[in-house]
C-alpha cells in the first residue's frame, strides 16, 4: 500500500541555482548563490557588485615574493586613502573590503606584522573600492586583491596552477610590483631573479603580449625602504645599481614603468625565536612613499 507524503515544492529555490553570473576575474559561469567562483575561487560578490552597478571595475594587482610586504603595503594604502583628505580618495564597497586594512593596522598597532597570507585563494582579502579623483566626476570602481607570494611564484613556475592568478595577471589594468629593498642592499640576487621572472611572466600573459613593450603601467616599489633610506633619494638609481637585471627588463619590455620606494615601519627590531630564526618587529608606523606609486598608476590607467 502506498502512502502519499505531502512535500512542499519550493521550486523558487531552484531559480537561484539556475541563474548564471560570470566571475569578474576569470569570466566563467557560476550560479547566483555561489560565494566564491567554482573555477578560480575569487569572491563572487565582486561580480554581483559589478553587475548591480553596471560598470566594469578596473583591477590592480599587487605582486611580489612572499614576505616582501604586499599585505602591509595594501592595507596601509587603503587605510591612508580612506582616512586622509587627499585628492585621491577611496571608499570601501562592502564590509569585506575593509578587512584588509583593519587586520593590517590592528597588527601594526600591536607592533607586529600581519600574518602571512595563506595560499588558498578563497582565504585571500579582496578590496573593492570606489576611487574618487578630481578628474572624474563619477567614482571609479577598483578591485585590488592581496594574493599570496608563494602561490604567485607557483603560478609563475607552473602556469595555470592558480587560475585566479592567471586571470588576474591577464586582466589587471595596472600592476604594483614590490621588491624587498633591504635584500637588494645586502647584495642578495634572489630579489632580482624573482622579479625578473615575474615581469617576464607578466609580459607574456598580458593583454598586449604581442607588443614588444607592454603598455600596461607597472609601478615597481622598493619595500622596507625605511631600512635602506638611500632608496628614497633615487629609486631608479637604486634599481640600476642593485638590480641591474630587473632594471634592464623594465627598460626593454615595459613602456610605462617607474621605480618608487616605500616604507611603513619607521624602524624594526629583530627578535630571536625559539626555532632559531629571527622575527622582525615594527617599532612604529610611519608611512612613507605609500600613496605615490598608486597615484602614478591611477594617472596612467584612467
Amino acid at each position: 500500500m502506498n502512502r502519499g507524503i505531502a512535500l512542499e515544492l519550493d521550486s523558487y529555490r531552484l531559480a537561484q541555482h539556475v541563474g548564471h553570473i560570470a566571475c569578474l576575474i576569470c569570466e566563467q559561469g557560476n550560479t547566483l548563490d555561489a560565494d566564491v567562483c567554482r573555477h578560480c575561487f575569487a569572491p563572487m560578490i565582486l561580480a554581483h557588485q559589478a553587475q548591480s552597478q553596471k560598470v566594469n571595475p578596473i583591477i590592480f594587482a599587487a605582486l611580489g615574493p612572499s614576505g616582501v610586504g604586499k599585505t602591509v603595503y595594501l592595507g596601509m594604502l587603503l587605510d591612508m586613502m580612506s582616512r586622509r583628505p587627499h585628492e585621491l580618495q577611496v571608499s570601501a564597497r562592502g564590509g569585506f573590503s575593509v578587512t584588509l586594512q583593519q587586520t593590517t593596522l590592528a597588527a601594526l598597532a600591536r607592533c607586529e606584522f600581519p600574518s602571512k597570507t595563506p595560499n588558498e585563494p578563497d582565504r585571500w582579502n579582496w578590496a573593492h573600492c570606489q576611487l574618487h579623483t578630481p578628474r572624474n566626476p563619477l567614482p571609479i570602481e577598483l578591485v585590488i586583491p592581496d594574493i599570496a607570494g608563494e602561490a604567485l611564484f607557483q603560478e609563475v613556475d607552473h602556469p595555470r596552477s592558480y587560475q585566479v592568478i592567471h586571470s588576474l595577471l591577464s586582466r589587471s589594468d595596472g600592476v604594483l610590483v614590490l621588491i624587498d629593498g633591504t635584500k637588494l642592499q645586502s647584495g642578495s640576487l634572489d630579489e632580482d631573479y624573482f622579479t625578473m621572472k615575474l615581469l617576464s611572466h607578466l609580459n607574456e600573459v598580458g593583454r598586449d603580449s604581442k607588443n614588444d613593450r607592454g603598455a600596461r603601467p607597472v609601478a615597481l616599489i622598493f619595500s622596507k625602504a625605511d631600512q635602506c633610506e638611500s632608496c628614497f633619494d633615487d629609486p631608479t638609481g637604486y634599481a640600476e645599481r642593485h638590480a641591474p637585471g630587473l632594471w634592464r627588463v623594465c627598460q626593454q619590455r615595459f613602456r610605462k614603468h617607474r621605480f618608487f620606494a616605500a616604507g611603513v615601519a619607521g624602524a624594526c627590531a629583530q627578535r630571536a625565536t625559539h626555532g632559531g630564526g629571527l622575527q622582525s618587529i615594527p617599532l612604529r608606523v610611519e608611512p612613507r612613499g605609500i600613496v605615490e606609486p598608486f597615484e602614478w598608476l591611477v594617472e596612467n590607467v584612467i
Binding site: A267, A269, R271, A272, T273, R284, V285, E286
Partner: protein, 375 residues
C-alpha cells in the same frame, strides 16, 4: 687680552670643551670684544671687577644656551650678580622644573586598549627633581655646537664612537646633521627641531651644553605628570594635555603640514609643567637603551644592543596609540633619521641651588643620583 688663567683653569678642568674653539666659522678675537657688557648691573666698588675677557666668555656661553655649565657649583662662584641673574633667567626661559616623584613605565602594548589612566600594573619608580628643556633642541642651537667645533672635540664624544665621528657629515661632507648643507641648516628652519642626528650626536651636544639626555622615566614624568594620592594608584595623563587625543595640539600625521614645524608651534600641546611638543613634530632620543618587552613565551626578548629609546611621536606618526606619553619606540644609536631629534635635561642636584624658592620644603628634596629607567 688673554682669558684669565684662573677662569680657564676652572672651565677647562671641569669641562674641557668650554674654551676650546677649534673650528669657529668666524673667529672673533676676544681682544676685540667690548670691555664691558652694557646690560650688566653696576657692581659695588668693594667687589673686584671681573676681567672683560671673562665676562665676554660668560656672555658667549649664555648666547650659546650653555647656561647650565655656568650654574654648576664649581663655576657659579665666578659669576657677577648680574651674570648670575641672567644665567638663572636663561635657565628659567629654556628649561622647566619637573618635581621629584613617582612614575610608572608601561609596556607599549598597554596602549592598545586606550592606555591605563590608573597605573597599578607596575611598581612606580621614584625619580629626583630635574630640569627638562622647554623645547626640543633647534637647528640654531645645534649650529652653535657645530660652529664651536663640537665635532672635533673628542672629549665630549663617547670613546667607542670616535671612529664614526668623521662620518657624521651633512649632504656636502661638512660635519653636521645629515640633512644640512655646507655646515648650515636649511633656510627658514632655524627654529625647527634639529633632525638627522644620531644618539651619539645628541649626547655630545648635551655634554657640550652642560646637560645630558633625559631618561625614559624622566621623559614620561614630564609628559604624563603623575599625581600620587595616598592609598590610590598613580594618576597619569595619556597625553600632556589630558587623556584624549586632540590633533590640534600636536604635529602628527594628518594634523600638520607633513614635515617638521617650528618648536613653538602647537602651543596647546604644552604639558602641565610647561614643556612643549613632547608629543609630535619629532621623536626624541632618551638616554636609555631600547629593549623589546615581550611576554610571549615562544620568543626571546632579545636585547637590542645598538638601539636606543625614542619617545613622543613625530610629524609622520600614523597611529594615535603611538603618540602617547607612555609609548616607547627605538632606533639604532647610529641612525640619523629625518624625524628624530632630542631635548636635554639636567638634574636639579647638579646645579648650584641659589633660588630661595627651591629650598627644601618649597620644592622636592634633592638626591645625589637620578633613578634610572628600568631596562
Amino acid at each position: 687680552m688673554r682669558i684669565p688663567k684662573r677662569m680657564c683653569g676652572t672651565l677647562l678642568s671641569a669641562y674641557s670643551t668650554a674654551c676650546c674653539r677649534r673650528k669657529a666659522p668666524a673667529p672673533e678675537p676676544i681682544e676685540a670684544l667690548p670691555e664691558a657688557v652694557p646690560d650688566l648691573p653696576e657692581l659695588s666698588v668693594d667687589k673686584p671687577l671681573k676681567p672683560a675677557g671673562e665676562q665676554s666668555l660668560i656672555d658667549e656661553m649664555l648666547s650659546q644656551s650653555r647656561y647650565a655649565l655656568l650654574l654648576r657649583p664649581q663655576i657659579i662662584g665666578n659669576l657677577t650678580p648680574g651674570q648670575l641673574i641672567r644665567t638663572q633667567a636663561a635657565l628659567a626661559d629654556g628649561m622647566c622644573l619637573v618635581p621629584s616623584g613617582e612614575v610608572v613605565l608601561h609596556p607599549s602594548a598597554d596602549d592598545e586598549d586606550g592606555g591605563n589612566r590608573f597605573s597599578n600594573r607596575r611598581t612606580p619608580l621614584r625619580i629626583d627633581a630635574y630640569y627638562l628643556d622647554r623645547y626640543p633642541a633647534t637647528n640654531a642651537q645645534f649650529q652653535q655646537f657645530v660652529a664651536c667645533g663640537g665635532y672635533e672635540q673628542l672629549a665630549i664624544w663617547d670613546q667607542e664612537i670616535w671612529p664614526a665621528v668623521l662620518d657624521f657629515v651633512d649632504q656636502t661632507g661638512h660635519p653636521g646633521p645629515r640633512f644640512w648643507r655646507k655646515g648650515g641648516y636649511p633656510n627658514g628652519e632655524a627654529n625647527h627641531p634639529v633632525v638627522g642626528i644620531c644618539w651619539y650626536e645628541a649626547r655630545a651636544y648635551a655634554r657640550w651644553a652642560g646637560k645630558r639626555l633625559g631618561t625614559d622615566a624622566e621623559w614620561v614624568k614630564a609628559g604624563s605628570w603623575p599625581v600620587s594620592m595616598a592609598g590610590h594608584p598613580l594618576l597619569e595623563r595619556r597625553y600632556p594635555w589630558g587623556d584624549a587625543m586632540d590633533r590640534e595640539r600636536a604635529n602628527l600625521w594628518g594634523s600638520g603640514p607633513g614635515r617638521t614645524v617650528s618648536v613653538d608651534q602647537f602651543p596647546l600641546g604644552v604639558s602641565v609643567g610647561g614643556v612643549h611638543q613632547l608629543i609630535g613634530n619629532v621623536w626624541e632620543w632618551t638616554a636609555d637603551a631600547f629593549i623589546l618587552e615581550d611576554a610571549a613565551p615562544e620568543t626571546n626578548a632579545a636585547p637590542q644592543p645598538k638601539m636606543k629609546s625614542v619617545r613622543g611621536g613625530a610629524y609622520d606618526t600614523y597611529l594615535d596609540t603611538q603618540a602617547t606619553c607612555q609609548f616607547r619606540s627605538g632606533d639604532y644609536a647610529l641612525a640619523r633619521k629625518h624625524n628624530i631629534g632630542f631635548r636635554c635635561a639636567i638634574g636639579m642636584c647638579d646645579l648650584k641651588n641659589t633660588d630661595s624658592s627651591a629650598e627644601p620644603g618649597h620644592l622636592p628634596q634633592e638626591s645625589p643620583a637620578i633613578a634610572e629607567a628600568p631596562r
